[in-house]
Amino acid sequence: MSTLTATPDTPESAQAAPAGPVYRVTGRRVLFSEWAKLWSVRSTWITLGLGLLFLVAFGVIAASHYRSGLHSGRPMDRDFASATAVSLSLFGTNFAQLALGVLGVLITAGEYSTGMIRSTLVAVPRRLPVLWSKAAVYGLVALVVATFGAFVAFLAASRIVSGTPIAMGLGHAGVARSLLGAGLYLGLVGVIGTALGALLRSVAGGISVLVAALMLVPGLISLLPSSWQGDIDPYLPSHAGASMFAVAHDSTTLSPAAGLLVLLGWTALALAGAAYRLLRSDA
């Protein structure tokens, strides 16, 4: 068939190939397909909505809590002593990362649990374009949703804390960078979730590893001797991410750019593992 397409419109080839249209798989088409798949299941809408809700609601709650603490006259909670308008408004990233990461896992591991992966890989038997498309499509969607959520959370929270010592506007140095950093962090967490799902091929396994990496390992590290802690701690995915959206940095944290690089490294590692498994093992 493919040799016939080289000589189109001659009568002989028209006779020999009555099949008519000649289709072809391209990277762009796989991307469109994954885009269509993402939006045609309900869990996408629900989980993205939850992520957005967590991001905005917890930011507002944190800001309200700060404000009421300030006016109550009682000594400030330790958590709030070093709070900034940005840190309060991004309080929800902790929860939003779960929602967005879990959706990432569902997008890949969910195909294995439902059997959809067979249809997917029969259509695209070269396989890797599927992984790249899923990661790109979902990473972008998570990035856009999270960035939007971060800005909304900040606008709402900064209105609540206006007039307090920590009041900040969008124009303040580092604010826009922090909010974009938060969106980027959550987008990359989404990609990491996608990669973990493809690597482990199990929804439960993917979510467990994701939660462990983002929330449990940092706690375990604190059990290590303190001399080691300083070497490891800033490079954990969640801490590298936190340095991307923190306004203030000190010697124990990475700079935003370094944080981004470290997180990109983790993402690349997870994707490489996922690609290896996808190519090497039977679906």
Binding site: M1, S2, A19, G20, P21, V22, Y23, R24, V25, T26, R29, V30, F32, S33, A36, K37, S40, V41, R42, S43, G110, E111, T114, G115, M116, I117, R118, S119, L121, V122, A123, V124, P125, R126, R127, D282, A283
Partner: protein, 312 residues
């Protein structure tokens, strides 16, 4: 055209597919038969590249499946019943698959109609009955207007109307010159549509034959004759389309191509006494069972020792 060469798949100690060689040709329906666990599904998964062969190779239209520019246009496959996301509608499922190949929406609507899914295309596929799920799988298989159609146990879960629909679909696809490869563990089902048969058991090739040859080899349509004058009877009966087999010195002859009635009349005409005249009716099912008896993976306990069908 599907071409398997020394195709082998091992899972640890277990060999699922063992050194299979076969060719599936265009223009006919080829049945892929074997008891449960014979390696049919694994073979089909290797054909479309879901499983990698441990050794050997299988090509579709001259190339490995994954090497084709438009795989869905080469092979349309229905694998184990549900290869769908239950939360996605049938229409969206097909559209997402079509997008990977640039297959137009018009074609998606066509296969939805063809599979009789028009009224449920917007419903979540998870709510489908087994039969509807099969129809959706077949719609997906036909999406790329493929040269080769490969269906794994397509009639499973279908109602009689659906079974009939599949049969007509398969024969019409073959009549269009396509390669049609259908697996089943039921001989009776395959015999109705297939011309060619590839029979496997425990991953090995047991027979690569036609329906007619299988029946003949299994002794179907033969008549056993015992007579005092086997040599004379042989001469009398011989003619075009008639085959007479007998051992030297034995009174028994196996005759194919004539009915018992015709043989009896012929013998009487020539005054040859007959001692025995038995039509051996071997059904395809029995031929298949004979062939695969040793290869059946999971034996049920049998109440009678003899299952050769002699009591039937």
């Amino acid at each position: 055209m599907i071409d398997a060469q020394q195709l082998t798949k091992r899972y640890g100690q277990k060999t699922a597919v063992d050194d299979l060689d076969f060719t599936v040709k265009p223009g006919t329906v080829t049945g892929f038969l074997g008891p449960n666990g014979a390696g049919k599904s694994t073979t089909m998964r290797m054909i479309v590249g879901l499983d990698a062969p441990t050794s050997g190779s299988v090509t579709v239209n001259g190339r490995r499946y994954a090497r084709h520019q438009a795989p869905l246009q080469e092979v349309g496959a229905l694998l184990e019943a549900k290869s769908i996301h239950p939360g996605r509608s049938a229409g969206n499922h097909l559209r997402a698959l079509a997008l990977t190949h640039g297959i137009p929406r018009r074609r998606v609507d066509e296969v939805i109609e063809l599979a009789g899914l028009g009224s449920v295309a917007k419903k979540r596929a998870g709510a489908f009955s087994l039969g509807m799920g099969q129809r959706l799988g077949i719609a997906a298989a036909l999406l790329g207007d493929p040269q080769t159609v490969m269906l794994d146990e397509p009639v499973n879960g279908l109602d009689p109307e659906g079974v009939l629909w599949i049969r007509n679909l398969l024969t019409s696809l073959a009549a269009e010159g396509r390669t049609v490869f259908v697996s089943s563990h039921l001989m009776s089902e395959v015999a109705l549509v297939a011309d060619h048969l590839i029979i496997v058991g425990r991953g090995r090739l047991l027979a690569d034959t036609t329906v007619r040859d299988l029946v003949r080899e299994a002794g179907g349509d033969t008549v056993k004759v015992a007579t005092q004058h086997p040599t004379r009877l042989r001469d009398v009966l011989s003619g075009p389309g008639v085959e007479v087999i007998g051992r030297v010195g034995s009174e028994e002859l196996q005759v194919t191509g004539m009915t018992a009635r015709e043989i009896g009349l012929k013998a009487a005409e020539h005054g040859i006494p007959l001692f025995e005249l038995t039509a051996k009716a071997v059904s395809l099912e029995e031929a298949f069972m004979d062939l695969t008896r040793d290869a059946v993976e999971y034996h049920g306990s049998m109440t009678g020792a003899d299952t050769s069908g002699s009591t039937a």
